[in-house]
């Protein structure tokens, strides 16, 4: 049985991996009853392999991962649906889509214009990227990793849960990307993102809207409603949503904690 002794490492491994069968398995089992050296080797390997497998056993899948995957698939679906949806919209939206197509045609012939910061933010928020923190730990994480002086927006008018956050950059400036989920009175959920960054020296654009004398800039970029607020420290808060119309998003931002403490010089003239 020298050929079995010569191949005992191969045979022990395939035996413990459940890959040996038929005559080969019977031959080895018979050999192990006769050869103490090979039997010792196989037993040692069994112990070592069991120990290794025990140590390699991973922990359970985090509960939040399933929700995160579902959200990423939702984003993927939305991104795939958007071009078609724009054609299905009536009235002004359809006209806007035609205008966008016209712009597209022109852009093909002319150098691309410089993107507005709102457009850049809308582009970033279309990407599906993993969160770096989720749930209740978000606030503390932001203080540690972004800027301790940032007060995360809260909302007074609706049920709004802060989902999580990640760090990114806007026009080469560090930025914080926050994710919120709004639950409507009918029980529907709507996702809203907020991008926060230093807007010193950056022109913010949009239709000016006044809520209780406060200034907001409203627009639509890349199929997203975008509402921007600049605070007294020149910090921009850019709210975006694909599921809320611009006026709905404006109303939501109007209830945010950001606008509760406003200096006189920020008031809408």
């Amino acid at each position: 049985m020298k050929h079995l002794c010569d191949s005992i490492e191969t045979l022990a491994m395939t035996l413990h991996d459940g890959e040996l069968a038929g005559d080969e398995l019977r031959d080895l089992e018979l050999h192990l009853t006769e050869c103490a050296s090979c039997r010792d080797h196989v037993e040692r390997e069994a112990v070592a392999m069991a120990s290794l497998r025990r140590r390699l056993a991973p922990p359970p899948t985090p509960d939040l991962l399933r929700a995160r995957i579902t959200r990423a698939l939702d984003d993927e679906d939305r991104a795939a649906r958007r071009p078609l949806a724009s054609w299905l919209l009536p009235g002004t939206a359809a006209a806007a889509a035609v205008a966008a197509l016209a712009v597209f045609v022109v852009v093909l012939r002319a150098p691309p214009p410089t993107s507005s910061v709102e457009d850049v933010v809308a582009k970033i928020t279309t990407r599906s990227r993993p969160l770096e923190v989720e749930g209740a730990a978000t606030s503390q994480w932001v203080q540690r990793n972004y800027d301790p002086s940032v007060a995360l927006p809260t909302f007074g008018a609706a049920r709004v849960d802060r989902w999580g956050a990640r760090l990114t950059d806007v026009l080469d400036r560090d930025a914080l990307q926050l994710y919120y989920r709004v639950t409507t009175p009918e029980g529907m959920t709507r996702d809203v993102q907020v991008m926060i960054f230093d807007a010193h020296g950056i022109e913010l654009r949009g239709r000016r809207a006044g809520i209780d004398g406060r200034v907001l800039l409203v627009g639509t970029y890349r199929g997203r409603s975008v509402v921007t607020y600049r605070d007294g420290r020149d910090r921009a808060y850019v709210f975006t949503s694909t599921q809320l119309a611009p006026d709905e998003l404006t109303a939501l931002v109007g209830t945010s904690s950001l606008l509760l403490q406003v200096r006189d010089d920020e008031r809408f003239p």
């Binding site: 050929h3 191949s7 191969t10 991996d17 497998r53 390699l56 995160r68 993927e76 078609l84 993993p130």
Partner: protein, 225 residues
Amino acid sequence: MLSRRRDSRRDFEATALPHLDALYGAAYRLARNPRDAEDLVQEALLRAYRFWDTFEKDSNCRAWLLRILTNTFINEYQRRRRQREVLDAATAEQTATDGVLVHEGAQAQRSPEGVLLERAVSDDVQRALDALPADFRTAVVLCDVEGLAYKEIAEVMDCPVGTVMSRLFRGRRLLQQSLAQFAVEQGYVKAPAAAPAASPPDDAGGEPAAAPIDLGAYRSRRPRS
């Protein structure tokens, strides 16, 4: 078209998502920390969803998903290694990034919480796994964490069964040697265990010069009954 996409999503969720635990288990041992593992699973599942139309419905979905996951890992591993080489050469520090490719030093610098988390999960097994070449690590994880058969691993890794066996043998030996060494370093045992010899890891992921495991050689020597 919308309805077709809805059907596809439903089908994907019913067929692919039940394998989430298997994907996370493999990703946890392939990646360096839980956060990277979650990113890896998400990236692999999004890729799978994008190419769901190409999945043959009567084939092994778990093996198909693991193949996407391991390919994603190996591509990422190679990119990280290249990035590390560039950064090491320039002794540069990458501070803020928006990508999935984050230099570990920069990542740690940016997130004290991340540093603590990584330290907490960086157990001996993970350290030993991290030191293995990607192909060895993948073979060990697919066999000893996922319980895949040699043939399935060969399909996932797109290589012959003999290569799988060789990578498994060497990967396990190197892991056992590292763990024994850590045990000595930490004072758990007095003397190094006499582990069977294995070639040092080839960081370029090359195959070993002489395979110690060869079922074909055994079969050629085995007398015919």
